[in-house]
Amino acid sequence: MSIAECSHLYKRYGSCEVVSDLSFRVDEGEILGLLGPNGAGKTTTIKMMLGLTVADSGTIRIKAGEGVGYSPETPYFHPFLTGREVLRFYSRLQKIGKAGAEEQINQLLGAVGLEASGDKKTGTYSKGMLQRLAAAQAMLGDPGLLILDEPTSGLDAIGRMEMIRLILDLKRKGRSVIINSHILSDVEKVADRVVFIVKGRNAGEVEKREYMETGLETLFMKAAGIGTAGTTRIRTNAEIRTESAAGDPTGGSEDICAL
């Protein structure tokens, strides 16, 4: 069963069509990788899913009652606030009760490995720590779907390892996660399924076992039209649509952005 589904999304900025007939779904408890070159329309797609920008046409459905948490590519937190204060601030914006918020904040700081640094000012945090804090704020209120935008971008080897471990932890806890990235090796380590976005379109998608056989790079090159793939066949956008039509993968969903 899917927790979110995007159907036939279009988005144009001036004369440039950034997203064009893009469709994909996110299943419950899965980690979906959105993979594409820079400027492919991944971030615009995420912004549409978050309601930060409106699609020109198409629909985005999120399962009823499920919240969406978001961790940006380059998180900025006021440097004079401690990690705990940042989480407290966002919990207040989310109207989470004081007592519940404190309990959640302690849990989240532990989950992202910041329990020892929670009372230090974020101005003293490394980029990796800021990314983990961003992930923690995304998890406030226990959302069903987490969207992580370039979670490992700009991190050193240790920072990347820690972030990957955190994403795998999220999967173990049964969360649905969308990872928007252009770093193939990181997506390969965590994603159950990968959707290739090229020039704003769904250029195909592959399951983990498929890309483990052939290699994500080869498949990505083929999807992007810059190389030849091995034996594994990438399902085309039209095939995905046919599969979706066969069963209703969005049962019990509600429109958050009917256009």
Partner: protein, 252 residues
């Protein structure tokens, strides 16, 4: 929304430039309020602490207005640039609530600044044993706060749509128009044509800063108080604050 206002206020009062200007203002007041001053206004020598207080308050008003522009110029553009907007808006905060909170935070910081400047004057009052002046100085500061609060609101609203530099220049022009309100009004009244109509319309939306300052001086001197410029200043703050309900950037 309170969390956003408090956060904006906290961020603003941590700005180093803010404190540098404040210190300069305080030093100016120290120089002014000492009895050795050779200041003359309209050919009359201004001597003695009591005569210096209105001058000090006028300087406080001027510095507070400059600080109001400085405080407000970057708040909203920074939020968009750092993409903090994303983390706030995905939590169901409405764009108008967000802009209103940021503008209110700016106004709070602007008022904090004028109160801080006035506090130094109050200290000097206490130092010179003129304790009876303290309540008047406090009320005067609040009245002068109307000018800086208006500038905070106007510049904040401008920065929602315009680049910071243009909004800042707009803020300085608004300040100039507010101080020269009476003169510009008289000029516009004696002129005709499209230009005069534009000037009259613009002046309608800018408080008469000089008149508000005049009322502050009236409080200090115990003279007659005219509520009209004060009330129109407050109304215009309300008007600009309500503009945050309908102004937002298309793309965040």
């Amino acid at each position: 929304m309170c969390a956003l206002i408090i956060n904006t206020f906290r961020e603003k009062i941590r700005n180093k430039t803010f404190y540098i200007v404040l210190i300069i203002g305080m030093v100016l007041m120290l120089l002014l309020t000492t009895n050795n001053s050779n200041l003359t206004i309209n050919g009359r020598k201004v001597a003695g602490f009591e005569q210096m207080v209105p001058v000090a308050l006028a300087i406080i008003g001027f510095i507070a207005c400059l600080l109001a522009i400085m405080v407000s110029i970057q708040t909203i553009p920074n939020e968009f640039e750092r993409k903090t907007t994303h983390l706030v808006l995905v939590r169901g905060i409405k764009p108008w609530q967000y802009m209103f909170a940021l503008t209110s935070g700016n106004i709070a910081a602007g008022l904090f600044c004028i109160l801080l400047l006035s506090f130094s004057l109050i200290l000097f009052c206490a130092f010179y044993g003129k304790l009876y002046l303290i309540p008047s100085v406090f009320i005067c500061s609040l009245l002068l706060g109307i000018n800086s609060a208006f500038l905070c609101a106007a510049v904040s609203v401008l920065t929602i749509k315009l680049p910071a530099f243009i909004a800042g220049t707009g803020g300085v022009l608004i300040y100039a128009a507010g101080i020269l309100h009476g003169i510009l009004d008289a000029l516009a009244a004696t002129s005709e044509g499209f230009g005069a109509t534009i000037v009259k319309t613009l002046l309608f939306f800018i408080p008469d800063f000089a008149a508000i300052q005049g009322q502050a001086s009236a409080v200090l001197a115990g003279g007659p108080f005219d509520i009209q410029p004060v009330a129109s200043g407050l109304l215009l703050i309300y008007l600009f604050l309500s503009l945050t309900f309908i102004t937002f950037r298309k793309e965040v």
